[in-house]
Symmetry: C3
Subunit: 471 residues, 3 copies
């Protein structure tokens, strides 16, 4: 399948090379190792206590690396395997799902390092990088991949890269307003990552609305093994979500508690997802779409309040509700959004990231508002430093959290609107309606030898029979 | 495929909702954060030494989270990806293998937290949770998933949930008797997890014996790609088994040593598995069933003695024997168990978890009995605290270990017997003999577009030929 | 498919048993726990500070386990899942790719422990093992698996085991010369692992040249789902490469910095890979072979200089170039190597490990040569201890690095030459040209029920038509 309109021969290389060269130049000018990564930061030790190493000082063992890197790797797996394989459920779009996910994630994490570094405070004109910047960049990338889910199958890799350029920037702006200016707490990103990514992506797909998408309808579904590949993505997201939500929380009990809360939220969510799937699906059978997606809503919904004293009990209620809302969204809301609002949401990100993200923001606001020093003790300074210091009251913090949700929705929708129109430019090589959800537009797809051999056999049968008949 | 007997429309939602609501209520009443997870536990530091964080105290860096959580995540992957995908080898039961595994694991880990917390000692009427309870709950869940392997393809999700309710409870009772009452050492669970899960599951499948299971025999086998999916499960179990066995051992050298011993046991086991597979299988060819399962027996067999001074040499011998036993079991014992004892063991858990678990228990008893302070030094207090304190001799400890195996077998078999009869109640919606090993009983299964097109083609060929002949 | 020449019934068991028994005996005689793994090393603490544990001493928390084991597990996943699944791209060689990878890795890591222990310095006649030896053994195994990639599809499991016996030995010799004798820095193994493994494997496949390999050409390609399986391998290698390169660097900033540099190198490499793939491939479409392999070249190329003060900027340039070189290699050099030099390189290891490995070695030599104490400060002692101590100058170190590359190439090529001829012995059961790239030579392959049923149907159609015609 070849088409000049979608041909990437020059467009993709030019885009990738220009973007990467800009990145390299900006990194050369702006980026430096942070204190824990720089050789110069090393403190010489006169009394090495550890036999296998050269002159280890106690500071070497307190390097941020050891307290964040395992979480980083879990997040990294979620970004590349989790998101990538979750989207392989489409029967003929597996290469693009995993492959474009790979491409835009590799770009976004570099661009995010610059944008987040720029907004989060440069020191002496430099952006300082280390494991924390790696995690934050992966987080921002996650947001772009959520939006990718809405437009999956309907966009060219260049459109996706362009979307990433703008979305990463707006993400950093929104994150700056919330976290730095307002002092919003959102460690696992119910707002900054999920709500933002979802509503941005939904607005983009609205603007890119294709009235004749029915033409490729038969490809917009799964086959048996593609659903199994997707379950790899689902399970990695599910298993590592506790690491995701806790990756950048404060050291000690906050990190520990966030992981625990998320774990319970996800477990409860899984049970309500199965229940609702059987209840709503055809003939009481379970629907893989629900299992693959809704079972993860508990992680999204625990993104803001996870680090707070939500209690296991509270976490389970949140997860339980998230699963119910999410399945109901897939069953009833998505068809309405498509018909009435012309939002073609390929992966149903509104049900997995949109509504559960909003739920998570609300839970976070309420949990903040009711925080007391009776419950938090000295730990208050790590979760709500502004409340501990007396700068603001708990209910004020709760109000800030609620306002943050509104701001996030505003920036996401407005940003998606503008970016959507930009993506409509014909130069980006979007596929035509008939070849959406089809890898062969952008990929060399191997001949299916089995298929081929069957067709050969059929041809042979036909030929033989013809011969017999003619003789 | 629809059938009122197996229809889950109301039964599954009701079961899931009731179970989850009971869990939430009990968590609300009984569960609290432990010291390392609670914000109140935080100790204020007046001299922050770490630049990136608010007032970190040294205690924050000694939080149990940092010493257990990476192991927890490895165990978590084994439970959800490892067990889940190991069972996808069946050609038309992948959705159920991964999906039911997911459901019953998500339920079991919550229920296990309560049951284990209840038996392992509540403080002031509360169960305290943190990373250790998360690992222990995953361990208990592993036991349920082992039993699932025996009944795979022949049970409804409701039967599995009911089985989990009882099995988790009995697991906690057995674990309490062994670990708390008797002071048995079994860090990696050769007895508590593997032996228990295997013989419980074997007894359940014995009670659920289906004389006419031949009706679905053609589905009880693999296809090419389903075997590759299963290898994902196998390899994750294999790679992370060192983390599994060492996840709850004492800090320092015991945890380190357990991982090392398990690693050598598995490596040796893999070589004997390949050897035995080629030796016993048809035409000297390797059998995927052996590779997928028997190569893991080395991890099971190192479950008890792994934390002891088993030495790499000893570990390799144990793994080597485990691989041989396991392949021989698949080749010769399983058919006998099915014919003579009417035990239909879908995944061959007797060969992977049963016999290697018993082997591991015996190795553990012997290794305990010969422990000397010459070999253990001060480390004795971490591996055998009762021997170190002089409360018991090493040989007495060995005796206790042997008795523990007998107790485990007894509780597992008796428990399986009772639970098996409970599961026979027709209300649980078990599939009929003809539709065992078939996803479409409980799942919406996507139309196989390729298949369909082939059949269409065949129909077309037939029609065309008929036409020709008739004309 | 059965053939006495390739029958493994006796040959494989005998080989495996002999090798494993030798290993066990040598481990029994030579191997001991290291200080951090031995119970005797435990220091009793009189003031337990940690509530959950028996008498933890601060030393328990500084056990090497906690600072290396997460990296080890990431490396472990790369070895078994990464390499194993990367090679499943072949349509009918998935069992062998994953399965032989598993077998030779399990053997090699045991044998490597002995060989590396022997060369790296035994203490009191014993090899001491712990997490560092585990990582080093996995590294050496990686080298063998790289060579496996060159001969994939054309060798029996016995040939692979024999190759591993020799290659591991030569790897340890080369590593000893470089790291111990010359003081070469090569933490991520651009030279010791990638260059060595690649050129060794290329020479072996040259000696094993099959002029009539065209006979099995139709099997030497992928199908749709086999390419997706391969992407699992690719992504795990990509994600965990930062752990790989940093796994054995010094504690603190070097480990942190290495991970960071590798991460940037890989990200930049991914963008240049996509660009070059679209630019060079047919019709501007992306080629899965490039994405699966070339996107990883950035990790290889950062293997030597990763621990140095390469800066993010420098890392990105290195990765960017590695991706370009690698795709160009696949597109233009591989066909030439095959036609002119008779090197049949199944996986294109020259493009993924060979050239990028050499690039990494050169980058490392240059970066070493320009190292100044202005840039490194006190950190110099951890990265270049001989320069810090004044024993050698930076430019001398750079020279040593360059010489090390030459030595590595020499040993690899000479070793591959000799081992290639050994592998030609007919007793090892190599497959004939017509059945290369075919699992059924060495594996029980499940009947493809769908296939089967189609053929059945075809037979039926034929039979029916014949009957009609005859009647």
């Amino acid at each position: 399948m070849t088409d000049t309109a979608t041909n990437m021969r020059l467009r993709l290389p030019i885009t990738c090379f220009i973007l990467e060269i800009i990145l390299i130049i900006l990194f050369g000018v702006l980026v430096e190792y942070d204190h824990d990564t720089d050789a110069k930061g090393h403190v010489n030790s006169t009394s090495p206590s550890h036999s296998d190493s050269h002159a280890d000082s106690p500071a070497d063992y307190e390097n941020e690396f050891y307290y964040r890197y395992p979480s980083f790797q879990d997040v990294h797996v979620m970004i590349f395997i989790g998101f990538g394989f979750l989207m392989t459920f489409l029967q003929r779009y597996g290469f693009s799902s995993v492959g474009f996910n790979f491409l835009i994630a590799a770009f976004s994490l570099q661009w995010a390092t610059l944008m987040q570094g720029f907004f989060h405070g440069m020191k002496e004109g430099k952006i300082h990088v280390g494991v924390l910047s790696m995690i934050n960049a992966d987080f921002c990338t996650g947001s772009v991949l959520i939006s990718f889910g809405a437009v999956l199958g309907k966009t060219s890799p260049i459109q996706l890269l362009v979307m990433a350029v703008f979305e990463v920037t707006l993400f950093a702006v929104n994150e700056f307003i919330l976290v730095t200016l307002l002092g919003t707490r959102d460690a696992g990103g119910s707002m900054t990552i999920h709500t933002f990514g979802a509503y941005f992506g939904l607005m983009v797909t609205r603007i890119l609305y294709r009235p004749n998408l029915d033409k490729s309808k038969h490809k917009n579904c799964s086959v048996y093994h593609s659903d199994l590949f997707a379950m790899i993505g689902t399970l990695y997201l599910w298993m590592f979500w506790p690491s995701f939500n806790s990756a950048i929380t404060e050291h000690g009990d906050p990190q520990h508690r966030t992981a625990l809360n998320t774990y319970y939220s996800l477990a409860a969510c899984t049970l309500s997802t199965y229940a609702m799937s059987a209840l709503t699906a055809h003939d009481g059978k379970l629907d893989m779409v629900h299992i693959q997606n809704a079972a993860l809503a508990g992680g999204v919904a625990a993104g803001t309040a996870g680090e707070m004293m939500l209690t296991p009990f509270g976490s389970m209620i949140v997860g339980f509700l998230a699963g119910i809302i999410s399945v109901l969204g897939f069953k009833f809301l998505s068809p309405i959004l498509e018909k009435k609002l012309k939002i073609q949401d390929t992966c149903g990100i509104h049900n997995l990231h949109g509504m559960p993200g909003v739920l998570g923001a609300i839970v976070g606001a309420v949990t903040s508002a009711v925080a007391t020093s009776d419950v938090y003790g000295h730990g208050m300074e790590k979760v709500f430093p502004d409340v501990e210091s007396g700068e603001r009251t708990a209910s004020y913090q709760g109000g800030i959290q609620a306002i943050s949700l509104a701001i996030t929705l505003g920036i996401a929708l407005l940003g998606g609107l503008i970016v959507g129109f930009i993506l409509k430019l014909p130069v980006f090589g979007a596929p035509s309606d008939a070849v959406c959800f089809e890898d062969s537009v952008y990929w060399e797809v191997p001949g299916e030898s089995h298929e081929a051999s069957h067709e050969d056999q059929l041809t042979t049968v036909r030929a033989e029979e013809s011969e017999r008949l003619n003789s």
